[in-house]
Amino acid sequence: MDMSVEQSYIDIYNQMAEKVKAQSSAPLNALRDDAMKAFAERGFPTKKWEDFQRTDLKERYATNYGINLTQFNIDFNPYSAFKCDVQAIKSHLFFVVNDVFYCGDKRATDEIEALKKQGIIAGSLRQVAKQHPELVAKYYGKAAKWDVDTTVAFNTAFAQDGFFIYVPKNVEIDCPIQIINVMNGDLDMMATSRNLVIVEEGAKLQLLVCGHASKSFNYLCNRVTEAFIGNYATLEMYKLEDTEESVTNIGSLFIEQQADSNVLVNEITLKNGFTRNNINVNLLGEHAELNLCGMAIGDGKKHIDNHTFVNHAVSHCKTNELYKYILNEESVGNFDGKILVNKGSQKTEAYQSNRNIVVTPTAKMYTKPHLEIYADDVKCSHGATVGQLDKEALFYMQSRGIPEAEARMLLMVAFANDVIENIRIEALRTRMHMLVERRFRGESSACTSCSDLCK
């Protein structure tokens, strides 16, 4: 096996591990060496790996990005640069700049204090791990497995910061928390960040995570998020990527759901470069419900890969999965979704659907929906379609005087609608309808600012 790409990272780790550990704290450090060992054994995923057949991550890491081990602060205050006036979507707003949680503005510390009054711990993972090591240690690394995906091992070895949210028992936050991951630097750069979300029994969290990037440089982000959802707890997580062609985005989300919990993940790739989203959900308690959906809009040479795995470990759980892609020009989409219903997980309901429109002959869609069922009393379905815009509908609209380009746009927006309709925050839903329409009109805001989402 050729390990030339990996070797430089292995060397850096060997040289710098002690320094990294000194900056970091016990809960995060406990896993670093094991993670590096696993990474060094297998290297980055390539197309030869079953779960990466369409997406070569080794190739993405071959570019020599700087790695921000010393966690230097970039002279960039996102609060002033982003001018985010949150009116339609009132939220507690935080930024992760590259791979560092941004605390350099009073607005960040004020929000942390305001949330503290509601009993919520939110803020920088690095700092919370120092202040509440027992809380972080109880969860950190418990859901994020690296046996399938060694970029998770890479992340665990190197990550030092990211966002942390803890919502204690029966607490419902007054409004959504919004985290904006923003890549900004004056050189090509890699960001390796780590997030931890804990929603205790009966609590509820609405979380909006946006990804943005400045235009000028090449960036690679590797972000791993773990979310632990207690009995009767609710998590709504809306992920929006609106970045640039020069961005490689590798996002891994691991969720553990306890009994009667309810999770919605809605992942929207509005604009990107090269994206691999990995979602891994474990339904560990009976009557847990998961709604997993996403959509992606591709054009140019964009690459969008959504990989999902849902494990029905117990009976009486329900999964509803819907992913939609609209691919133009030479973009490439991949959907690889698996739902595993274990032996004994009776009365499982699991529905998986992937529907795609390939607008141009040069765009490509790969889809692999699969169910693996070892129980005999279940209701499950899965399916995929790849098609084109409905020609009859196009002509019907043209015959009413609607120009072809506008008619195409209306059909594409319509196709995306049912994913957006899953958004339970009305203001965000309205906003997203608009953003998607603008995206199809080619008017995307070149979102180096997030004012778009928050106006």
């Binding site: 409905d390 020609k391 009859e392 509908a393 002509f395 019907y396 609209m397 043209q398 015959s399 009413r400 005087g401 609607i402 120009p403 072809e404 506008e406 008619a407 209306l410 059909l411 927006v413 319509a414 196709f415 609608n417 049912d418």
Partner: protein, 253 residues
Amino acid sequence: MGLLEIKNLHANIGDKEILKGVDLTINPGEVHAIMGPNGSGKSTLSAVLTGNPAYTVTEGSVMFNGKNLLEMAPEDRAREGMFLSFQYPVEIPGVSMVNFIRTAVNEKRKYQGQPALSATDFLKMMRERKDLVELDNKLANRSVNEGFSGGEKKRNEIFQMAMLEPKLSILDETDSGLDIDALRIVAKGVNHLRSSENASIVITHYQRLLDYIVPDVVHVLYKGRIVKTEGRELVAELEEKGYDWIKRELGDL
């Protein structure tokens, strides 16, 4: 000059010639019925006039409002005042009726150099025209034709016609699949919109619709050609005798 002047029109679908030399002139204020047996080319004629890309014109000319219709994109034909009430209206999931018809109305206004309608004016117009065909309020908020009954789809076509105020309306088998009540509502709508400025082509198999929408001229289209043109009395004759006597006249039987 006529509103529509078709001369020696030939059209194919694939390699198959369907229209084999159609001549037809329509003046403002006139209602023309086009009848004929199945497969004679009636629906092809409406598809070709509205610019359906499935058909190719191989010969002939069509002038509409003094402009060369065949050179225009389907949307421009519509904005010039051509309207087709589809035999099978298309369902468009996810596109709301309101959004659809507002886009269409405003695109036409833009084409004519008029400003877009304000939301208030648009809704007022929509309310009025909707009542004309007794279209349920709820339908306006649904996706275009999705889950509409057969009758609702046809009434929706006439509603769109009322909104777009075309110069030439082609009603393609608008009576098919309609019960007598729906037929009456549709006909009432069409008659209400009739004026000395506009014209209609009513394509049908049956007398039924023509009892309500009384034509000035009746044509029989057969094997891709108009083989007979007479006054409205031809309708009753066809209803009574069928098409065999015409085929016999042409030496086909």
